[in-house]
């Protein structure tokens, strides 16, 4: 996904990551998706061509697991509860399973766009 990012610089610097990591953790906790049993890649907006294609390319079992997590979250939401500290998604389980596929699809779409706007030239 696009956008300006300094994540690599922050990760490289001990000082910056030491300061920012707790802030980031607090932000993730506050956003609350883990308390519904979801992963970060589950809450990405699905209504774009890129993500729809990426979800289509998920291996079958990962696709089912994704739907299962969403159903669980939906149940929590219906019953106005959240997971307890023990049953909530653990930070180490918050795997970016969709991001590599999204990057791949985005690169393919960009390539297609480039070719569609190509100017033919003679050698």
């Amino acid at each position: 996904m696009s956008g300006i990012t300094l994540v690599n610089q922050v990760k490289a610097s001990k000082f910056l990551s030491g300061v920012l990591q707790p802030v980031a953790n607090a932000f993730v906790n506050a956003s609350g998706y883990r308390k519904l049993g979801l992963r970060y890649d589950d809450v990405l907006r699905e209504e774009t061509d890129i993500i729809r294609e990426a979800v289509n390319r998920l291996p079958e079992n990962q696709g089912y697991e994704r739907v299962f997590r969403m159903k669980t979250a939906f149940q929590y939401s219906l019953s106005h509860t959240v997971a307890t500290k023990e049953t909530a998604l653990k930070p180490e389980d918050d795997i970016r399973y969709l991001t590599p596929i999204i990057d791949e699809v985005a690169a393919e779409f960009a390539e297609k766009e480039d070719f569609n706007n190509i100017k033919s030239y003679t050698k």
Partner: protein, 436 residues
């Protein structure tokens, strides 16, 4: 029995062809990719990647995998996406095709001469870095299924497939097209590619390019390909037998085949002459009669009857036979006429007939080097066997054939156990033993 001893004879014969000067050894790159080119003076060129991984090399339980490999050609690889390959090919005015045979799978690019380096690079990537991605598998599987359904409705293909499966059972008898129940996954394909996409099983064949240029391009493009070892295959054994295939078709189809000779052996050239002698081909469009015995028999029956002779040569075995199609009430007569003309040839061949047959066989043999598709097929099969036979060398081999050899070969064919295939409304079609 007979089949084993003659297979051994075939193997012994290969070096003698080298000695007789009918073939020369093929050029190889440092890691073992065989390179063969026909440098003709045309503005266009074609390059083919021939991999010795056709239907006969399918592992047990994975029937049809070669068909999937064929349709996975030019898909996403580590260097370029399938989309990029397609668009870039369009931009340089190239045409890409894939072809599957019993012995090899062939990927071909036809292009302008200056673009040959690009396509050789694409072939190198195809071999070394094809991804066999899951999301591509679905579209490939759909394509495979639609190709299977198309040939499923073609009686001519059913005849040839049934002849091979009855004659050889496994190996060369494996069906080319993946049946709809074939059990193939991307993991199987990756394994198959790891086993077979190795330099010693690959030939790079081109027309319109010099061999030296092709070799230097292949040296760089295929540098990363593992050398591996040459294809190891169980020697083909000829079985023979009767097969009856029920098929919804208007005409009846009957094929009678015998154990033939491996491509490039003296017996194979003799069989080529015998094939022309029996004939059955139409040399004038819409003509209803011809001089050859099979054409004469077909025109006597009329009503769209067709009788032809065929001669298939593979690396270690061959099939020779006759194929008749006619209306159900006339098919027995047509098939009998075909077998009878083979029997007549086994008795004697007149000098006049022999002269005509030899001329036709020579023309056919030489003209195979003229068309790009057949020349590529020919050079590819030869290169995988480590040799190169030029048009003039194949003509020289045909020149050696004598009328006596032809009738001797016909008698030898008739002594092997026949393979009889009938395709159509089987209740109305004759049984194999009624034809002799």
């Amino acid at each position: 029995m007979l089949s084993i001893s003659s297979a051994r004879k075939t193997l012994n014969l290969v070096p003698t062809i080298f000695k007789a000067g009918y073939a020369s050894a093929v050029t190889k790159t440092s890691n073992g990719v065989k390179v063969s080119a026909l440098d003709e003076s045309s503005p266009t060129a074609s390059v083919s990647l021939v991999i010795n991984a056709g239907a006969r090399f399918e592992p047990k339980g994975k029937a049809g995998i070669a068909h999937f490999v064929k349709n996975f050609g030019f898909k996403n690889n580590g260097h370029r996406s399938a989309f990029r390959i397609t668009r870039e090919t369009e931009l340089v005015g190239g045409v890409l095709t894939s072809n599957l045979g019993r012995e090899s799978v062939t990927f071909t690019a036809e292009c302008l001469k200056e673009d040959v380096p690009y396509f050789v690079e694409v072939f190198g990537d195809l071999v070394a870095q094809t991804k066999f991605a899951d999301h591509e598998f679905h579209s490939v599987a759909t394509q495979v299924a639609s190709e299977y359904h198309a040939v499923e409705a073609t009686p001519e293909v059913a005849v040839i497939e049934a002849v091979h499966s009855a004659a050889f059972r496994n190996g060369l008898g494996n069906p080319i097209y993946a049946a709809s129940y074939s059990d193939v996954t991307t993991d199987d394909l990756k394994q198959f590619a790891a086993d077979h996409f190795v330099a010693n099983k690959i030939a790079l064949v081109a027309t319109g390019v010099s061999e030296a240029e092709l070799k230097s391009l292949a040296d760089t493009a295929f540098a990363k390909v593992a050398a591996g070892s040459a294809a190891k295959v169980e020697a083909s054994k000829y079985f023979g037998g009767d097969v009856r295939v029920p098929f919804n078709t208007q005409l009846g189809h009957v094929a009678v085949a015998f154990e033939g000779a491996a491509a490039g052996t003296p017996d194979f050239y003799t069989a080529q002459v015998l094939r022309s002698l029996l004939g059955g081909d139409r040399f004038v469009k819409w003509s209803t009669s011809g001089v050859s015995p099979l054409a004469a028999a077909a025109s006597k029956i009329g009503n769209g009857a067709q009788i032809t002779a065929f001669n298939f040569g593979y690396s270690d075995a061959g099939l020779f036979g006759v194929y008749a199609q006619a209306e159900n009430n006339a098919i027995e007569q047509a098939a009998k006429a075909a077998v009878d003309s083979l029997k007549a040839a086994a008795k004697s061949v007149s000098a006049e007939d022999f002269k005509r047959a030899l001329a036709q066989a020579k023309f056919e043999s030489a003209s195979r080097y003229e068309s790009r598709v057949s020349a590529t097929e020919l050079l590819g099969a030869q290169a995988l066997q480590g040799q190169k036979v030029t048009a003039s060398e194949s003509l020289a081999a045909l020149e050696k054939v004598q009328a006596g050899d032809v009738s001797k070969l016909a008698a030898k064919l008739l002594s092997s156990k026949p393979t009889t295939v009938v395709v159509g409304k089987t209740s109305e079609l004759p049984y194999g033993d009624a034809l002799f």
